[in-house]
Amino acid sequence: MTPILTCKGVSKNFGGVPAVSNVDLEVHGGHIHSIIGPNGAGKSTFFNLISGEVPLTSGSVYFKGQEITNFLPHQLPHLGISRCFQQTNVFPKLTVYENVWAAMFARGNKGPLDFLRKAAQFPGINQKSEDIIEEVGLSHKMSARAETLSHGQSRMLEVAITLAGLPTLMLLDEPTQGLAPEATHEMTQLIRRLAGRYTVLLIEHKMHLIMEISDIISVLNLGKIIAEGKPHEIQKNALVQDAYLGRLR
């Protein structure tokens, strides 16, 4: 079966400093594919290369067989790729509902006239937005402005916006960043529920989370993939241990 996402030789140099070097990666449909690695390994940069925030120095990216190398960020949601950000990146003065609704509305081919219709004329979007907000547990904050949310709630909103894009592939960049254990657990359960319906490419630092929910783990160090495999394989991998403990080979 064709992988949902294929990266071939993806590289990025920032003025001579290699942030990502020759990364080959395949993500298969319905999987939770995690990317781990020590700080500065290039994980977020790698996401930025896929999602078009940063142009590639070399290499190519394919989504469902179609090349999407260097596509602009706003083109990807329409293909079915949605991402969330490590630093909470929502629309502060808009309500939770509007945050999600706007992301969902963007999805798909809307004619210019649709942009001038009243919101009530999109019952599908209205309902699905409410569903997503409920799925992430923010129903009680539906009309609250995003800037009034707590950190944990913001991270949930971050994921909700990503879900609202009705994606095939979700790129989640440290969704549990800064979350307390209980909130982390909720987020973990949420991501686990997403598997199968969505394909998830996940960056995380919390090892127990990774081991618990991942189907495949790729390990990035200094911009290169040093190991890839199922969780129990990675756990035993000496290279990975070295990378995290600071011993370079």
Binding site: K110, D114, F115, R117, I161
Partner: protein, 308 residues
């Protein structure tokens, strides 16, 4: 809905307008009200600060003025003038939205001054420094009151159209861009394209206001296309309050009233306007709307303490 109440209040003011003020002044307030609200679509809702909206005001005014002088019927001259403003805004906007922030402001400003100079030099068409005089009004609206009624109707049509735009997904997209342009792109909005839409829509309505302004005093003075006028437009927004759809209307009324009042007091009235502007920028950035809000909260607190 709150908007319905505010619209009704608007309607009320518009009705009593010509009885409290000279009809021509009231009409001018409505015209500038259209400008203020439409400029706010760009500035307040999309977050694009433009120092060049007078370009399109002037273009609409000159175009319509020339057509009316040439005998073109009003119902053709207004759309044509607006259309020209829209077209030129499309071209100017295309280049301006390629850049953000400072550079965007500088570009709008520089384009504005370019149009001013074209107006200055093209004396055969625009009358140059002396402006374009002798613009006729159709007989039907030649007296001040009927002209006011005409403007009032136009005003409400524009207001309702802009209200509809703001409360549509398009308006939401604009606010997304103001709040977080990179995330707006990440969820699938072509930010540059929507900025362009915002630019064009705001400029088109401003151009429309220009077309009817040509008939207000039967002359288009050249300073209506000067960058100082663009600054005045921003003053209206700030004075009224940008965070609100109706705030700029207060700004327009305030701007006309202040400038008329100051002009009687001192020949150097722009100095007084500048001082008011300064005070607003330093201490009341939310405009009159913020003042009303503060007064309201103060009154509530006073009442709560009194009853406690």
């Amino acid at each position: 809905m709150r908007n319905t109440y505010l619209l009704l209040i608007c309607f009320g003011f518009v009705l009593i307008g010509p009885f409290v003020l000279p009809p021509t002044t009231a009409a001018e307030m409505l015209i500038f009200g259209i400008i203020a609200v439409s400029t706010n679509i760009m500035v307040g809702y999309t977050g694009l600060l433009s120092f060049g909206q007078a370009s399109f005001f002037g273009i609409g005014a000159y175009a319509c003025g020339l057509m009316l002088k040439a005998g073109v019927p009003l119902l053709l001259a207004i759309p044509a003038g607006t259309g020209l403003a829209l077209l030129i805004a499309g071209m100017v906007g295309y280049f301006c939205v390629k850049r953000t922030g400072l550079y965007f402001i500088c570009l709008t400003f520089a384009f504005n001054q370019m149009f001013y100079f074209i107006a200055y030099v093209w004396t055969g068409v625009t009358g140059g420094e002396d402006g374009l005089p002798g613009i006729p009004r159709p007989d039907l609206i030649s007296d001040p009151v009927s002209f006011y009624v005409f403007i009032a109707v136009l005003f409400f049509i524009c207001l309702l159209a802009m209200l509809r735009i703001i409360h549509s997904p398009l308006g939401l997209a604009f606010r997304l861009i103001r709040e977080n342009p990179s995330r707006a792109a990440a969820v699938g909005y072509n930010v540059r394209l929507f900025k362009w839409f915002s630019f064009i829509i705001a400029s088109a309505f401003t151009g429309l206001a220009g077309t009817v302004y040509a008939m207000l005093y039967s002359i288009v003075p050249i300073d209506q296309i000067h960058w100082l006028k663009s600054g005045d437009f921003i003053f209206m927004l700030l004075f009224g309050g940008t965070g609100n759809f109706f705030g700029p209307l207060i700004g327009a009324v305030g701007y006309i009233w202040l400038s008329d009042t100051f002009a009687v007091i001192w020949a150097r009235w722009p100095l007084l306007m500048g001082i008011v502007f300064l005070i607003v920028v330093l201490h009341l950035r939310g405009g009159v709307v913020e003042l009303i809000g503060r007064a309201y909260r103060f009154a509530i607190r006073e009442r709560a303490e009194a009853t406690a």
